[in-house]
């Protein structure tokens, strides 16, 4: 079904179209389209044809706890991210003071999701590109031990999610005010050995991916992430950028906006200052807030020698993801060691009318939610801005740069390289699609 062109001889082409009808090893349905005319790139497009599911409309009239369940279904890979942005938005609006252990458990839950998502991406989706296989399953024929270790490491993250939330995909325990059930200390301690094993695997993985040959690439994107003075950003911090943005997360709309683009079922996001594309995710976080990485993750980053390259070569994001994987295991272990069950697992709360807005760091980057809430606590209006739609402009800008690097390659190889580049962003196309809010305005 993939329209892979057959190889053609190598002279630099004048007119050419590179097309991948359906991108594989990405989450959701997207396509790649690049048009070259007279040696110039005239069009670079990441098409998103994933069917819209209208989440922003579906949450209207729902209660905050219902919203937490519903928005999780935007993405099976990062449901916790959606739950976290929503729950913090509501608690902030309603003035709910949560127990410090509840706060710690939410970081732990996010560690579980980062582990599951990053391990999936590094090993099952991205590494096959570097090693020349169509899939991790095919890779297992020659690298069985590595793939088995990766699956074991990923399982540790899923087991953590399962303990905290009942199941790894669409966990059920996150509620406004805390947890419907907080874990016992003994249950968490039982996960320690698997997480410690995962940490060792992540360290080895990061060394390994840092040894892989990276395709040449250079573009210095504008980076955006949350930053917090004392911790690597999950649920708290301010929105900062590589060029001086520094705003409270609730003010996302003062700097950024969304707009519709033809050929895409997602709204794109851009900055209001006209500078356009910006990049979110592991490369942005490692660069903008590397000082708050866990010492073990920081050490791995320094040893990798990739701290600079991560900023300018998108293919190197696999190393940034490895560094964050180490962080997630290491912090999970620390949180488990320090855990005391919350004295108030679920705080009582009263709804209040107003605007609930919050951002957290999904595995793929900043995830912004904004809800207009009425005095019964029902949602009147919603805006959900996932990382992939924010990254889309950066992906397309990078496609132009990458295309120049690959024009001289045989067509099939060039197309493959471009696909690999797109995978470097870990695009989550299911996520990017939901904002299609079909709305009527006949004015």
């Amino acid at each position: 079904m993939t329209e892979r062109p057959t190889p053609t001889p190598a002279p630099v082409p004048e007119d050419r179209t590179y097309a991948v009808g359906e991108l594989t090893r990405v989450e959701g349905e997207g396509s790649l389209h690049l048009v070259v005319r007279g040696g110039e790139i005239v069009e670079a497009r990441l098409g998103i044809f994933e069917a819209p599911r209208y989440f922003e409309a579906l949450v209207v009239d729902r209660t905050p706890d219902e919203v937490i369940d519903i928005v999780a279904r935007i993405c099976g890979i990062c449901p916790v991210a959606y739950q976290m942005s929503a729950v913090h938005a509501f608690e902030d609006l309603f003035g709910v003071a949560i127990d410090p252990s509840v706060r710690a458990l939410r970081r732990l839950l996010y560690c579980g999701e980062w582990i599951e998502s990053h391990a999936l991406h590094i090993w099952l989706l991205h590494a096959p590109d570097f090693l020349g296989y169509p899939s991790a399953i095919a890779m297992a024929a020659d690298h069985r031990e590595r793939v088995e270790a990766a699956l074991r490491a990923k399982k540790a993250g899923n087991d953590l999610l399962r303990l905290l939330g009942g199941r790894p995909i669409h966990p059920v325990s996150v509620r406004v005010g805390g947890w419907s059930r907080a874990p016992r200390r003994s249950e968490l301690l039982a996960l320690r050995p698997a997480l410690a094993d995962g940490l060792a695997i992540a360290q080895e993985t990061t060394r390994f991916v840092a040894s892989l040959p990276m395709p040449a690439f250079a573009r210095e994107p504008r980076l955006v992430s949350l930053r917090h003075p004392d911790e690597y950003p999950f649920n708290h911090g301010r929105i900062v950028s590589s060029d001086g943005i520094d705003i409270p997360m609730a003010d996302w709309r003062s700097i950024f906006e969304e707009h519709q683009v033809e050929g895409s079922n997602a709204l794109h996001a851009r900055t209001l200052d006209g500078k356009g594309a910006y990049l979110l995710g592991p490369a942005a976080r490692v660069t903008l807030t590397g000082g708050t990485l866990h010492p073990l993750a920081r050490e791995a980053l320094d040893q990798s020698g990739f701290a600079e390259l991560i900023r300018t070569n998108i293919y190197a994001s696999i190393v940034a993801r490895g560094v964050e994987l180490i962080h997630a295991y290491a912090e999970a272990l620390d949180l488990i060691d320090a855990y005391v069950p919350p004295s108030v697992p679920l705080a009582a709360w009263e709804p209040r009318a107003g605007v609930a807005a919050w951002a957290t760091e999904a595995p793929r980057g900043l995830l912004f939610h904004r809800y207009v809430v009425d005095d019964r606590g029902r949602i009147r209006e919603a805006q959900i801005v996932p990382p992939t739609s924010q990254n889309q402009a950066a992906i397309e800008a990078d496609l132009v740069v990458a295309a120049r690097e690959v024009l001289a390659l045989p067509h099939a190889e060039a197309t493959h390289r471009l696909e690999q580049m797109i995978r470097s962003y870990d695009p989550c196309i299911s996520c990017a699609t939901h904002f299609l809010d079909l709305t009527i305005d006949r004015a």
Binding site: E27, R53, E56, A138, Q260, I440, D441
Partner: protein
């Protein structure tokens, strides 16, 4: 991907329609059992996991997601023609999913909507379960599916026997596992009595009521439950109805019960969920 000389392994595909990818991710989440599975089956086409592609024919095809745009409606018919044993996985594929709440809306009005560029978006007026379009041979319920049920189905397929999935409600599962009944102990509204088991009674074990993600059990007495919620526990009928209006709302008898209690929540019915926002966007686009 495979070239085994031994007896042919069943040739499997995994396909996505309108969904969150969580159900197919459950396949990859089989972790240490994943490689065994891939040894017993030949994975022909699984775009989320592999760039090796094939158009079939398939011995077994797993469908994730609901049918919600014209392309998917055509595609499912073509896929069915190339498949021996078609399995729907998850609430989206078996019941239309959370996105089927739009089925209560007036999509004709959506169509005429001043979305900045409505012509760029193709979408059916309804989100439908796969079985509304083509015959389905087996289904796994849940949002997402349960990994143990998936393994049982795979084991059955590999040996050609019938899958043995326990036929009980979430309520019965809860009792079997000795979980505290949240409805009795805390007065929490719970759909456990009318919901197909298979999840292991996750929500009650985590201190909440079941919200029906495995869908209605055959012959479920939904009216009885609604009477109990309203007459005995004093919930407003519309509030009781919205409990059903979740991930399997479009499945009967949930669908009729939702209608009887006044329809799905406003957001799914109303075609103007975010007028000011939409107007702002449309104006921006118009200005460009």
């Amino acid at each position: 991907m495979a070239s085994s000389a031994a007896p042919a392994r069943p040739r499997v595909g995994v396909v996505k329609m309108a969904s969150c990818d969580g159900c197919q991710l459950t396949i990859l989440d089989l972790e240490e059992r994943l490689l065994d599975v891939t040894e017993r089956f030949e994975i022909l086409d699984f775009p989320e996991a592999s760039s090796a592609r094939s158009a079939g024919p398939f011995d077994v095809l797993f469908i994730e997601g609901s049918i919600s745009d014209p392309h998917q409606a055509e595609r499912i018919v073509e896929l069915r023609a190339r498949t021996r044993y078609l399995v729907t996985i998850g609430a989206c594929a078996t019941a239309g999913g959370i996105q089927a709440l739009r089925n209560w809306g007036d999509h004709a009005a959506f169509r005429d909507a001043v979305y900045a560029r409505p012509e760029w978006v193709a979408s059916l007026d309804r989100s439908l379960p796969v079985a509304d379009l083509v015959p389905v041979d087996a289904e796994l319920r849940g949002c997402p599916i349960d990994p143990d049920q998936l393994l049982e189905l795979l084991a059955a397929l590999a040996t050609g026997r019938r899958p043995q999935l326990r036929d009980e409600s979430v309520c019965q599962e809860c009792k079997r596992r000795g979980a505290v009944c949240v409805a009795v102990a805390k007065g929490v509204p719970c759909l456990g009595q009318v919901t197909q088991g298979g999840c292991g009674a996750i929500c009650p074990r985590y201190g909440r009521g079941c919200y029906g993600c495995f869908g209605p059990r055959e012959g479920a007495n939904v009216d009885g439950l609604l009477r109990h919620l309203t007459a005995d526990l004093g919930h407003d009928p519309a509030e009781a109805g919205r409990l059903l209006a979740g991930f399997t709302a479009w499945a009967q008898p949930f669908r009729s019960a939702i209608d009887a209690t006044g329809g799905a929540p406003e957001g799914s019915r109303r075609s103007l969920p975010m007028a000011p926002e939409a107007a702002r966007r449309a104006a921006q686009e118009g200005a460009r």
